[in-house]
Amino acid sequence: MKVWETLAVAAGAVRLNRVRSLLTVLGIMIGIASVSLTVGLGQGAQNQVREQINALGSNLLIVSPGSSTSGGVRGGFGSATTLARADAEALADPSVAPSIGAVAPVATMQQVITYGEQTWTSSVVAATPDWQTVRSRTLAGGRFLTDADLADLGKVVVLGSSTAEELLGGRNPVGAEVQINATTFTVIGVLGASGSSSSATSDDDVVIMPWTTASTTVGTSATTLSSIYLQATDSGALSAAYQQADSALLTLHGISSSDDADFTITSQESIVEAATATDRTLTVLLGGIAGISLLVGGIGVMNIMLVSVSERIREIGLRKALGAAPRLIRRQFLMEAGILGLAGGILGLGIAALGAWLLPKLISQPVTMSLWASAGALVVAVGIGLIAGVYPATRAARLAPIDALRRE
């Protein structure tokens, strides 16, 4: 008997008891659906975090003040005022840090911006022209800051896309005049959307102005910085850039041990890792719990297969009397269990796909279902069916034909 003929016999047996087959695969179905959804949710959350962090810019290092552990007391992240404009100038020197391509020192402050009757509170960023390169931002219109704006203390601003939208509505912002801290500024450009508009600390709600102007008009400090953005010359130079920035800043601050450092350098990679590590742990944990339902599903399949074998003892005996070899009987029941597993897997993936479509609408969490994970889930489902089928199938194959035929 050919393999596909045995398969047809097995499929026929599954079809014959439709309701029971459906109930049998329920466990595997729920297991596959919950594992797929958990992993999909975890993947979705990780992708979301990764996207937000990548939106910061490429090959990026961020130097923040504070977070030192001087005297065993850890300062709050970004609370200290130990980062100076002189630090940024030093890091921009290629002889000090050859692997650092561009440096963007930044001081930020919340300010109320007024356009006509419209007011909006936004984060004013006192920046340099390099900010655009380092943060990998595009312009939706107008131009960005220039060295001339810095030198002339130009009263010019570049608006983030959502700031422009809030203040000016649909009007063309370029050329418009806005008031900040009783000073009038001309809008010279608008940033393109950063792509992470969903994040709470939106990169699109900003007002960029020359730091020279900011320190004289809106009150940001001329010397201390909120952070310094560093761009490595290329992605391979990222760790060299980190080392160079670290040792240069330690020297500048006169600190001998990096344990006492009064600044923190983070890379995109480390942020991504920290942010996704907890997600991953949670995914593995929840996936493991969901996996238990797969195990229970497998036991369910084994149970019903055992029932099926004892129910069909006469059929097995007859098939043997007519010349079915034990391995054919084993194959028939194994395939039956495999088909049950496959059916459970397909139904489970169907439910997971439905959940992946529905969940983002309900809890605004993205669910990523990858083709590979789905294929893997199907393989696991069939595998569980087959493993659950081994014992019942072996029992069926070992039945003596006389005992089987004699059974009433």
Binding site: K2, R314, G317, L318, L322, G323, A324, A325
Partner: protein, 235 residues
């Protein structure tokens, strides 16, 4: 080809029940010639069923020798026995033993499935076999849609389809009314007339009388029609 389809000599079968040994056959010697129609009779507990199981290669012998169609089947394992059952023996059971989910011709083609015959040939031979037993118009019916007599005729068609050396019928009329009984017995007579080797196991004299020869089983031993203990010589 051997003249004897069934050649049992000094066959013993002992069942082991824990430490207790229960002898079911105590040295059976029996020969059945090609084309012969033999009835095996005996009360329950006589060893009749054991003999039937051994003849059908459904059970193995403890000692002695069994040549089926010239082949020694005592030494074969379960895998090899399944081939022998498939190709040498056609079974007819008291309970018909048809698969209820399959149509008549699907039931009949089962032995050919296990013999590895192609699909087209299987269907053709199954239909021929059903026509042979007078059910040519019911090939697509399921067992539940057929009468008892018709179901047993499907079983006869299934026993015939592989063209076996031996047709082994175990109480073939035990579950049938008198009309169907006459019907099935007439069919077996026909098969015999066509040259088939047939062994019928029964306890009904009406059935046994149709056979050419009656063999009686008592206490694990075989006696011929005249009540003489069968020896090495043919009855």
């Amino acid at each position: 080809m051997s003249e004897l389809v069934v050649d049992l000599s000094e066959v013993c079968k002992t069942y082991r029940n824990g430490t207790l040994e229960v002898p079911a056959l105590r040295g059976v010697t029996l020969g059945v010639r090609r084309g012969e129609y033999v009835a095996i009779m005996g009360p329950s507990g006589s060893g009749k069923s054991t003999l039937m199981n051994i003849l059908g290669c459904l059970d193995t012998i403890t000692s002695g020798r069994y040549l089926l169609d010239g082949e020694d089947v005592a030494e074969l394992d379960e895998e090899e026995l399944s081939v022998i059952r498939n190709q040498r023996i056609g079974f007819i059971f008291q309970q018909f033993n048809l698969l209820p989910a399959l149509s008549a011709w699907r039931n009949v083609e089962l032995p050919l499935c296990y013999a590895g015959v192609s699909r087209a040939e299987r269907k053709q031979r199954a239909i021929q076999s059903l026509e042979r037993v007078g059910l040519g118009s019911r090939i697509g019916h399921r067992p539940g849609e057929l009468s008892g007599g018709q179901q047993q005729r499907v079983a006869v068609a299934r026993a015939l389809v592989g063209d076996p050396a031996l047709i082994l019928a175990d109480e073939p009329t035990g579950n049938l009314d008198s009309v169907s009984t006459a019907d099935v017995l007439a069919l077996i007579d026909e098969l015999h007339a066509a040259g088939r080797t047939i062994i019928v196991i029964t306890h009904e004299a009406e059935v046994a009388d149709r056979a050419e020869r009656i063999v009686h089983v008592r206490d694990g031993l075989v006696y011929d029609d005249a009540g003489v203990l069968a020896s090495g010589a043919l009855a």
